[in-house]
């Protein structure tokens, strides 16, 4: 992950957007150390370097440098979501949650030792103001 600090605690990240038929995404091979966010049945955000393989010759694969991530502990994330979201966050289910956080569209990626709140850089200034 590229470490460019946009505002304190929020770092720019580079990824790739992949849009393909769902059946091809189901069996695609992703870079080994990448974070793979299944945003929709036909869309994936891949964060991390390395090749990927997908069996759809019409797939759209595009670089995306428009994202940033706020790294939190689970308890910090739980507090943030209880305060600013009107949706339920469960760490026991899928690692990806998507919704509005203080009216800002976010993707929440949960790992055992950290949580990433991923947001478009066009909202960074609002993140700084609303999430703190």
């Amino acid at each position: 992950m590229t470490k460019t600090v946009l505002v304190p605690g929020v770092e720019a990240i580079k990824g790739r957007r992949v849009v393909a038929v769902p059946t091809a995404i189901d069996i695609a091979i992703w870079p080994p150390d990448a974070i793979v966010l299944r945003l929709a049945p036909d869309e994936v955000l891949v964060i991390g370097e390395g090749g990927l393989s997908i069996n759809d010759r019409h797939a759209i694969i595009e670089e995306d440098s428009s994202l940033a991530a706020l790294e939190l502990s689970s308890s910090q994330a739980r507090d943030l979501i209880a305060r600013l979201c009107d949706w339920e966050w469960s760490t026991s289910g899928k690692p990806l949650s998507q919704g509005l956080m203080a009216a800002i569209p976010v993707k929440v990626w949960s790992e055992p030792d950290r949580v990433l709140v991923i947001v478009a850089t066009s909202y960074i200034h609002e993140v700084e103001e609303r999430l703190r």
Binding site: A12, V19, D42, L84
Partner: protein
């Protein structure tokens, strides 16, 4: 008495540890609102006060605090609106199996049983400061607590809020010195001396209270007739009524009342005289008046008198209103509908969990600020309106070279085996004949044939297209495309690139020269596009023209925007480059007659009404809106967007247009054209007998209808 005190209407009031504000006031011999039966349970409106700037608080539910500033509510009219700063009230959201409102015996047992059954439970009680104030769909419960607001999404809500004591309705019930028996008990426990007390128990009823400001005597109806009793205080035990407003709010939801809140409501005798609803000051005479005028249902009586719509939301008056309607109508009516909120809240509390939709910034936002831009909100984005004086921006485009930030434009990739057929059906223009590397301007119509969006279709390969949309329309466009792709079951992939790509519009007669300096020796021709590096930044260049001059839209990865912008500014310094904002852009495009969707279009603007039938191919097999256009285009044209010009200053946008003394339309876009030396406008006008007016008036000036565009009629400048 301790030395602790708060102020009430400017006077110091001492209090004991644990006192509520109401108890401290009553101990000092002060009725919080001047009169009315005191309940000390949060049911009645007789202890409402403004505490530390927040009005409509129940003094019986607020712990006395040293230094608090308490102000009584006016006897007539409303207290002032709170104005105590702009800090937010915090808000939390919770998801549980069960929420229990009220922690009396039945509520506590319900919470304990559910906890034993391993259900996730939240229990709230107004006596602990957590006051449930509304039930919404879900069910969702909104609770006000000292730290802030709670929104609780629950599978089930149990209402265990108990029962309230009946309040009296008779002349003199607004005097001080009247208490419910529970209130008297609390005052006794607090050591408040009520003096000579008369206790009236159900089924006895007070007929009237006597006194000037405070009770001096009460006349009671007993089984043995009327009896007059002198007293300093009258304590009433007239019966209980379920405190079930939250349960009634949750009608049809999984909301259950238990305990006394689920009890049978034994209605009192119908009131004969006095004030029924102290919040809205509705008397029995008022009820009789509306009844005799035909308002003979609970909901009608409520609406006609406003009884039950005040601060206590019917806690005091509902049993008496039902008794009145029962007595007159013969049937026991259901309680009137309960709606959130059951308590007054401050604006800060009401807005606690609300956040305004965020405005996006482009990657060049700080660059615009550095250049002195005045920013404004357009289409969900912050955009530069102008960089100081607009004239140099306009002239740079018309005479030299300029750059503008168009990164806000909607940008999409559509690919797949059915991409061409999909777009053929989506757009009213031809798509299949577009060759790779070529672009076409396109309208987007809805099923009624109305123009809802516009942009470019750019063919990128046999089965791959880049589409652009307006800044405000990108979200709609994505939804529109996905819905239709699903409906038609087309094999396409759609990717929104709006925020991933920055876009800079390089425009002006010297723009090609600047591109050459940036390393692009052979830029694409008009309405073509190509990928190449510009000043070392990989770009997808789209040749088009919104300004009327030669223009190149440079789409690039958004993390390279600042680098590209600065490089272009540097390379163009000796070419008199100047960035342009929206103010200049709107003037430039108006001179070319280019419409802005939502500004020049109305909800029912067909291509014919916009005089843009050239953008529609009715001979195509099918496209969205085609059938509607066949029908409406067979009707006589009734109005049209036209070009207008006048000498002198430009009228304001939105100005009314007249044909003689008949209103004919309005101006949608208006600017004074420095190049043409006159005001130019777009505006809607009506046709009469199939004819457009040649001259209309606006602000008492004649405007002449002229063919479009105003500027560069043959398009030579745009084509370069």
């Amino acid at each position: 008495m301790t030395e602790q005190s708060f102020t009430f209407d400017g006077s110091a009031i001492g209090f004991l540890e644990g006192d509520s504000i109401a108890i401290a006031l009553l101990r000092a011999g002060i009725h919080p609102t001047g009169g009315g039966c005191i309940c000390l349970e949060g049911d009645c409106p007789h202890c409402l006060a403004t505490v530390d700037g927040v009005s409509y608080l129940r003094a019986c539910q607020i712990r006395a605090r040293a230094g608090a500033v308490v102000v009584s509510h006016p006897r007539v009219g409303a207290p002032p609106l709170p104005c105590n700063g702009h800090d937010r009230v915090s808000s939390t959201t919770h998801f549980v199996d069960l929420v229990v409102v009220g922690q009396g015996e039945s509520g506590r047992l319900a919470a304990e049983d559910a906890t034993k059954a391993r259900r996730v439970v939240i229990a709230v009680d107004a006596n602990d400061g957590a006051e449930a104030i509304g039930v919404y769909g879900g069910p969702t419960l909104v609770v006000r607590t000292p730290p802030g607001m709670m929104t609780i999404h629950a599978t089930q809500v149990v209402v265990a809020t108990g029962a309230s004591q009946e309040q009296p309705v008779c002349p003199g019930s607004d005097l001080a010195g009247i208490y419910t028996s529970r209130a008297a008990e609390k005052l006794s426990e607090a050591g408040v001396d009520l003096g000579r007390v008369v206790i009236i128990r159900n089924p006895d009823r007070p007929i009237r209270f006597e006194g000037t400001e405070e009770v001096e005597a009460v006349v009671v109806a007993t089984g043995q007739g009327e009896q007059r009793l002198e007293a300093d205080a009258v304590v009433l035990d007239l019966g209980l009524h379920p405190r079930n407003a939250l349960a009634r709010m949750g009608h049809g939801l999984n909301v259950t009342a238990i305990g006394d809140a689920a009890g049978t409501d034994e209605l009192p005798p119908a009131p004969e005289d006095g004030v029924v609803c102290p919040c809205s000051n509705v008397s029995v005479a008022d009820l009789v008046s509306v009844w005799e005028r035909g308002f003979r249902e609970m909901e009608l009586v409520k609406r006609a008198t406003l009884a039950g719509t005040g601060t206590c939301q019917g806690s005091v008056c509902l049993p008496h209103l039902r008794a009145f309607v029962r007595d007159r109508g013969g049937l026991v009516p259901e309680p009137f509908t309960a709606r959130p909120l059951s308590r007054q809240v401050t604006m800060k509390e009401a807005s606690a969990s609300y956040h305004l939709p965020p405005m996006r910034r482009t990657a060049l936002h700080d660059e615009h600020l550095r250049l002195g831009a005045q920013m404004d909100r357009f289409g969900g984005w912050w955009r530069p309106w102008r960089y100081g004086d607009v004239a140099p921006e306009y002239r740079a485009v018309r005479q030299a070279v300029s750059i503008g930030d168009v990164g806000t434009l909607g940008k999409f990739i559509v690919a797949g085996p059915d991409a061409t057929e999909f777009l053929e059906r989506l757009y009213p223009c031809r798509v299949g004949d577009l060759k790779p590397g070529r672009s076409r301007y396109a309208l987007l119509l809805d099923e009624r044939g109305y123009v809802v969006e516009d942009g470019l279709i750019c063919r990128d390969g046999a089965n791959r297209f880049v589409l652009t949309f307006t800044s405000a329309g990108a979200t709609f466009a994505e939804m529109w495309m996905r819905d239709w792709a699903d409906s038609w079951d087309f094999d396409v992939r759609i990717l929104d690139r709006t925020t991933a790509l920055g876009a800079i519009n390089l425009t002006g007669p010297l723009s090609k020269q600047l591109l050459e300096r940036a390393g692009v020796s052979e830029p694409p021709r008009f309405m073509q596009h190509a990928r190449t590096e510009v000043a070392g930044v990989p770009c997808h260049i789209f040749r088009l023209s919104f300004t009327g001059e030669m223009s190149f839209e440079l789409h690039h990865s958004v993390d390279r925007s600042v680098e590209l912008w600065r490089e272009l500014m540097s390379l163009g310094a000796d070419l008199e480059i100047h960035p342009h904002g929206l103010d200049a852009l709107f003037a430039l495009r108006l001179e070319k007659g280019h419409i802005i969707i939502g500004m020049d279009t109305e909800f029912d603007s067909t291509p014919r009404r916009l005089d843009m039938q050239w953008a529609v191919r009715m001979d195509k097999p099918a496209f969205i809106g085609q059938e509607a256009l066949r029908r409406v285009d067979a009707l006589p044209l009734d109005k049209q967007l036209v070009g207008l010009e006048a000498e002198g200053a430009s009228p304001i946008e939105g100005a009314v247009l007249w044909e003689g003394d008949q209103l004919t339309g309005q101006v949608t876009s208006s600017r004074y054209s420095e190049t043409l030396g006159k005001a130019v406008m777009l505006g809607w006008v009506k046709l009469h007998e199939g004819q457009l007016p040649d001259v209309v008036t606006c602000e008492d000036r004649p405007l002449t209808r002229v063919p479009m565009p105003f500027y560069d009629k043959d398009g030579a400048r745009a084509r370069g």
